[in-house]
Amino acid sequence: MRVFLLVFGVGVVLVMLIAGKRGDLSRRSPIEIFPDMDRQLKLRPQTPNSFFPNGLSSQLPPPGTVAQTGPMRVAGREVYPHQDDPVNTGRLPGTTNFVELNPLPVTAQLLARGRERYTIYCAPCHGATGDGNGITKKIGAMAVVASLHDKRIVELPDGDIFNTITHGKNLMGAYGPQIPIEDRWAIVAYVRALQLSRLGSVEDLPADLRAKLK
């Protein structure tokens, strides 16, 4: 009995020493105890895959591919993603001139969406108010960030800002892949609202509020 107890005790201690306890950090990959159908012959996004020459499961669409989707409804019109339309390109059809005004109807809802998206995608660099003092500039990690209240940028047509978001400009990267078209126009609308907030004067206030200020 003594021998058994000794072996038993040593066994338990050994298992506990080797296996550790729940939640210990470990570099070893998870153990699948009954791996019956855990891993099936199907492709998952962003995994390696030896079938295609470039080794990716998520293939890029060949150049010139047109996404097949339903149309986007803008102010009573239907716009498909492949169309040469100001909504898609920010330019007047058939030209390289930027559209002056946001083709989406600017509503409180659009501005709220724009504010949310601006905070996610633009605020790290341009700052919450658009003055170019985002966190990356503040800690001195990034030298050049444009202030969106710059006179030149205030005077840009809406289409140009849309184009900057879609394709980037000089040192700023492209955000087209991350941000869908509606959201880009929502951000443009919100950037305009930010700019207005700095350009406003007392004269813009309704008379009763102006009186209160004084």
Binding site: P30, R39, Q40, P45, A141, L171
Partner: protein, 222 residues
């Protein structure tokens, strides 16, 4: 007779019983403790090819999860960002740092960075990020405090019982939609008030959004 069986054998049945009982208990306890995802998955922290830190980027820089994991609200799958996303900043920040060599190379050649996947459902389970994120379930419920991690580890078991615990009672975890990526957010600083608010407000949200309590098998095994 007595020469064949010495005296100690009288206690043999008892010893076998006790020994067997102890062994059985130990095996059951071992299986219970070690053979569940709480042990097999939780704590997995692979070595990543680039020493990317969520603590630096999210906690210190205040970035939103969706800046990088931009598909999480739209698709079942939460993407790992491409190298060009990193280069938005790192074309100026730490421009020549050796820790980022792989990122620069990947952005230049298009060859992906071989990140090691940490969270992974078995293929017979259907999971969907967009459903959860658009229904007020925060990343922190399933991924733990990622914003405090220098290297991501598997923080929750993601076992079937873990999923079901919440599916049976979503009101205990649900939160307003604009706080999904704010992992530290609570209803209130005071834990008692927070728990109470979670109950009352949670039940209100579940009612208002008509959140279903999905525990039929075909929700996840389809």
């Amino acid at each position: 007779m007595s020469a064949i069986f010495p005296k100690w054998t009288n206690r043999l049945p008892l010893m076998v019983l006790i020994g067997g009982g102890m062994t059985a208990t130990a095996v059951v306890a071992g299986v219970w403790y070690y053979f569940t995802p709480k042990y097999t998955y939780v704590g997995y922290q692979p070595l990543q090819p680039v020493a990317f830190s969520h603590a630096t980027h999210v906690e210190q820089l205040g970035m939103d999860c969706r800046y990088c994991h931009s598909a999480v609200e739209k698709s079942w799958f939460s993407n790992i960002p491409s190298a060009s996303t990193c280069m938005n900043c790192h074309n100026q920040v730490l421009k020549d740092d050796p820790r980022l060599a792989l990122v620069r190379e990947s952005a230049a050649t298009g060859k992906p960075i071989p990140w090691v996947q940490i969270h992974r459902m078995p293929d017979f389970v259907y999971f969907n990020h967009a459903v959860h994120v658009n229904r007020g379930i925060s990343c922190v419920e399933c991924h733990g405090p990622v914003h405090k991690m220098d290297e991501v580890w598997h923080a929750q078991p993601l076992s079937m019982s873990f999923c079901l615990d919440c599916h049976r009672d979503p009101a205990a975890k649900i939160r307003p939609l604009d706080k999904i990526t704010d992992l530290d957010w609570k209803w209130s600083e005071d834990p008692n008030v927070a728990a109470q608010q979670q109950r009352t407000q949670g039940e209100k949200l579940v009612r208002d959004w008509r959140v279903e309590s999905l525990d039929n098998c075909s929700a996840c095994h389809r």
